[in-house]
């Protein structure tokens, strides 16, 4: 089932007990109704008082209409969700509002006045701030320097950094952001960097905040904190437009939700009067099942065997400390763990991207320790990387050429060193269709695809090779619910074909739903092996935090 940690925590507390899988959805719903009802009552005073109105917006790209006839009306002081499948046109619509794109048709009103937002500076002046999914911060600058960049307070012609730091501190305290104004960006976590982005907009006086998939890059704990921050922001009268694929987040914090399907505006619903199921079916246009159907696994021989593995990170700090792990044919092993406990280093060691200090990695009984990525790939490994822009795609290649990134030199796609573009693009066309990658064509540059569709393209490429072992690191990050369902189904299908799957995810429900066995990783080691049906999320959370008490397994 697809209800999440956060909600379970809340219900858990409210019911004074840990979750019982069968009953939860109804309880959730009951609670949402009560909560949201209160919220909407609070909102009544502001009714029809829109801070932002986007009317009949149309935006075209070569070969595709990204937005058509979309209406978005945001009330003062509300959190307004923008929901839609991957490639539905959410980011595009927000880029229009932020002045990065000019619409072909339509009208934008801010605080009742008709405006032409020709570039982001105009948006800033109108009080609109945007936090993009990929942050735009200067790594070597401090938090304060980043925040004031472009609108520095001056004293005698010099930057008044003391005053700036004080102002940043005040802002940060007012909204409970807890950032250190003097810290360097490169030393702080992704979650903190996101807060700096939020502060940047607040510092410039934004009272309408656009957050484009802010939770996709966060850990569950950071998500909780972000939600608290959003709540304190609206208390101060700030309005928020939130893009997210996680329905439970919408249910928890949003007042209203506007749905876009394939570029068309579908309408706006009051979250209090809706349910995750309704939102999902509005968005996709069909019923969605939240449970992952799967039969029990029938594990066979070992595909991946890791013995006593030690790996250092780029700074020379040992991150994997004598780890042992086995993944068998026909099973999905999920690695649960808090980010930064050596998961990335483990993956990089298996895939040949970083050096193994000591220990052994066997794939199909063949020693692949410290072999080149090419050799390891050829030995039967696929890898869905965590960072899709850094590793997964060559963004300036057409999406079709990205589909053969590891196989271009093989007989199917080239002859005597000459690429056979017909075959490459036929192959791409097939994958695009099979995995429902939404793109104007297979010749479109990967860069122009929406975030979720880039991810689907990578998954298509990796799963289609049908290797003995698939390493899937955060495979559904940034995907819509329909796509998540599809990807989970695909991973299970591969398992049933007798492949081994190693899944790394920070989403506990993904780990719980998809894995046949959970390996808990803490401080560079596997500290527990448990079956998902024998443990609940609380117990798993404790194990991930390094607790030695193994509950239920």
């Amino acid at each position: 089932m697809k209800m999440n940690v956060m909600m379970e925590d809340i219900t858990g507390k409210m019911l004074g007990e840990s979750s019982n899988e069968e009953r939860i959805p109804d309880f959730h719903l009951a609670i949402f109704f009560v909560r949201s009802f209160k919220m909407s009552k609070k909102g009544v005073g502001f009714l029809e008082n829109y801070v932002v109105e986007m009317l009949n917006i149309r935006k075209e790209f070569p070969g595709i209409v990204a937005n058509n006839n979309i209406n978005l009306q945001v009330k003062q002081g509300e959190i307004h969700a923008l929901l839609g499948e991957n490639g539905a046109g959410k980011s595009t619509l927000m880029n229009v509002l932020f002045g990065l794109y000019q619409p072909e048709k339509g009208e934008i009103k801010v605080k009742g006045k008709k405006v032409h937002i020709t570039d982001p500076n105009v948006a800033n002046e109108l009080g609109i701030g945007m936090v993009h999914q990929h942050f735009m911060l200067v790594d070597t600058f401090s938090v304060t320097q980043n925040i004031i960049l472009g609108s520095e307070p001056r004293k005698y012609g010099m930057i008044d950094i003391k005053r700036a730091e004080k102002e940043v501190m005040e802002l940060s305290e007012r909204y409970g952001l807890k950032v250190d104004p003097k810290a360097k960006i490169r030393d702080i976590s992704v979650g903190m960097q996101q807060r700096v982005e939020i502060l940047k907009t607040l510092y410039r006086g934004a009272d309408v905040l656009i957050l484009d998939e802010p939770t996709a890059v966060l850990t569950p704990q950071e998500i909780k904190e972000l939600i608290a921050i959003m709540k304190s922001l609206i208390k101060e009268g700030i309005s928020i437009i939130l893009i997210t694929h996680k329905l439970k987040e919408i249910m928890e914090v949003c007042d209203r939700c506007t749905v876009i399907r394939k570029g068309e505006g579908i309408g706006t619903v009051n979250v209090a009067e809706s349910s995750p199921n309704e939102l999902a079916s509005l968005m996709v246009g069909r019923e969605i099942s939240f449970t992952t159907e799967k039969t029990p696994a029938t594990p066979k021989d070992n595909i991946l065997t890791i013995e006593n593995l030690r790996v250092k990170d780029s700074r020379g700090v040992e991150m994997v400390k004598g780890l042992g792990l086995e993944v068998k044919a026909g099973e999905i092993v999920g690695i649960a763990g808090v980010d930064g406990n050596g998961q990335s280093e483990l993956i990089e060691a298996i895939t040949g991207l970083s050096k193994v200090e000591s220990g052994k990695i066997l794939l199909n009984d063949k020693d692949i320790t410290n072999m080149s990525p090419r050799k390891i790939t050829e030995s039967g490994l696929s890898h869905i990387p965590q960072d899709r822009h850094k590793f997964g795609l060559v963004l300036d290649f057409p999406i079709g050429e990205n589909m053969v990134l590891q196989t271009y030199y093989q007989k199917t796609f080239s002859k005597n060193g000459v690429l056979s573009f017909n075959r490459i693009y036929d192959h791409a066309k097939k994958l695009i269709k099979e995995y429902d990658v939404r793109t104007p064509s297979e010749y479109t540059k990967a860069r122009a695809l929406s975030g979720g569709n880039q991810q689907k393209a990578i998954i298509a490429r990796e799963v289609d090779r049908s290797p003995d072992l698939i390493i899937a690191a955060q495979p559904t990050r940034g995907l819509d619910v329909g796509a998540i369902e599809f990807i989970h189904q695909k991973l299970i299908e591969e398992r049933d074909k007798g492949r081994a799957v190693l899944l790394i995810s920070f989403e506990l429900d993904e780990i719980m739903n998809v894995s046949d066995r959970i390996a808990v990783m803490f401080d560079g080691n596997i500290v527990a092996n448990v079956k998902p049906e024998e443990i609940n999320e609380q117990e798993l959370g404790l194990l991930m935090a390094g607790s030695k008490k193994v509950g239920g397994a």
Binding site: T377, K390, L405, Q406
Partner: protein, 348 residues
């Protein structure tokens, strides 16, 4: 209204046009007649058979150094060392061309190959240093330029000759020059090299766009991490790109050594053929055929400018300014793109 492709063609054309306009304004400012100036320039480039021949002769090495810089650039590398690669290629070609005897069918290809190999070697050094030690190629290629300059001077004075300032002439069997071409171009120094340069452009296009090697090079140029993830050997590709790039530049040296001059003099300073290749590649959008066209433009401007002082009284330095302005406008093509885009908006 404009497709992306149109854009890529339109931007350089507008850049060149703006450069010419700016040049005209400067000529006016200094009291010269820009129309007479530009007519003199065209005359100087194509006014008669001799001028036409000299213009094409000048274009030939530009094509090759342009390709050299463009090729490296596509693999994400900045080869400022084309200059040094030209010089060593020149010497290698002349050395083979003057010091051995063989039938033309062996001798000429061998001399040309020697130039490519020498240039390739000069590219290999910065390539391997970058791949193995991460040393930036710009620094090493600049140093390699000086090594090439002084090393070739030394070899000419002390090894190829006894304290003379020029080498012996290359033998007939290793020469690109042709009596027939000379006759139809009123004894210009035009030679067969243009065919080699054009063939090199076709090779570069084919290699980059059609082969698995080119796929790897482009991939490494765009995204090293993804290339490594996909199993490509990033270091190998860096070295390969620098070697091929150096090879193209070395061929440009062969054009001078086996074609234009037929020998190699010692140089007191750089030839600038390699440095101009950077501008040619930039103007040509780092694409093979764009580079050919840009080289033609460059050659025409440079050759035609020689005629401007005599025919229109405009100092030839001014033409240097015009060329600089054109490059400036291409480099800031962002502005032109932006202007075109706003035009497009208003057209709606």
């Amino acid at each position: 209204m404009f497709s992306n492709r149109m854009f890529n063609i339109l931007v350089p054309i507008i850049s060149v046009f703006l450069g010419l306009v700016a040049g005209a304004i400067i000529m006016l400012g200094f009291g010269y007649n820009p129309i007479r100036g530009y007519i003199a320039l065209i005359d100087g480039a194509f006014g008669n058979a001799y001028f036409t021949g000299e213009t094409i002769r000048r274009v030939t090495p530009y094509i090759l150094t342009g390709l050299a810089v463009a090729f490296a650039f596509r693999a994400g590398l900045f080869n400022i060392g084309a200059e040094g690669q030209v010089i060593v290629g020149w010497l290698a070609a002349v050395w083979v061309g003057s010091s051995m005897e063989a039938p033309m069918i062996i001798h000429l290809p061998l001399a040309i190959l020697a130039a490519a190999v020498a240039g390739g070697l000069w590219g290999f050094v910065p390539g391997i240093l970058k791949a193995k030690l991460g040393v930036h190629e710009v620094i090493i290629t600049i140093m390699m330029n000086y090594i090439a300059l002084f090393l070739t001077n030394h070899l000419i004075r002390n090894v190829l000759t006894e304290t003379k300032d020029t080498t012996d002439r290359v033998l007939e069997s290793a020469s690109l020059a042709s009596n027939w071409i000379m006759e139809i171009t009123s004894f210009s120094r035009l030679h067969w090299g243009l065919l080699i340069a054009l063939a090199a452009a076709v090779i570069m296009w084919f290699l980059l766009e059609k082969t698995t090697t080119g796929y790897e090079l482009r991939s490494v140029g765009y995204n090293r991490h993804a290339s490594e993830y996909a199993g490509m050997k990033v270091g190998k590709n860096i070295v390969l790109a620098m070697v091929i790039s150096g090879g193209f530049a070395g061929l440009a040296g062969a054009m001078e050594g086996l074609g234009t001059f037929g020998y190699m003099p010692t140089h007191s300073s750089f030839t600038n053929i390699g440095f101009d290749g950077i501008a040619v590649a930039l103007l040509g959008g780092n694409a093979a055929f764009g580079t050919v066209i840009a080289a033609f433009l460059f050659g025409v401007l440079k050759e035609g400018s020689l005629n401007m002082p005599t025919e229109a009284g405009v100092p030839s330095e001014l033409v240097e300014i015009v060329i600089a302005l054109i490059i400036f406008f291409v480099a800031s093509s962002y502005i032109i793109r932006w202007a075109l885009l706003s035009l497009k908006k208003e057209g709606k």
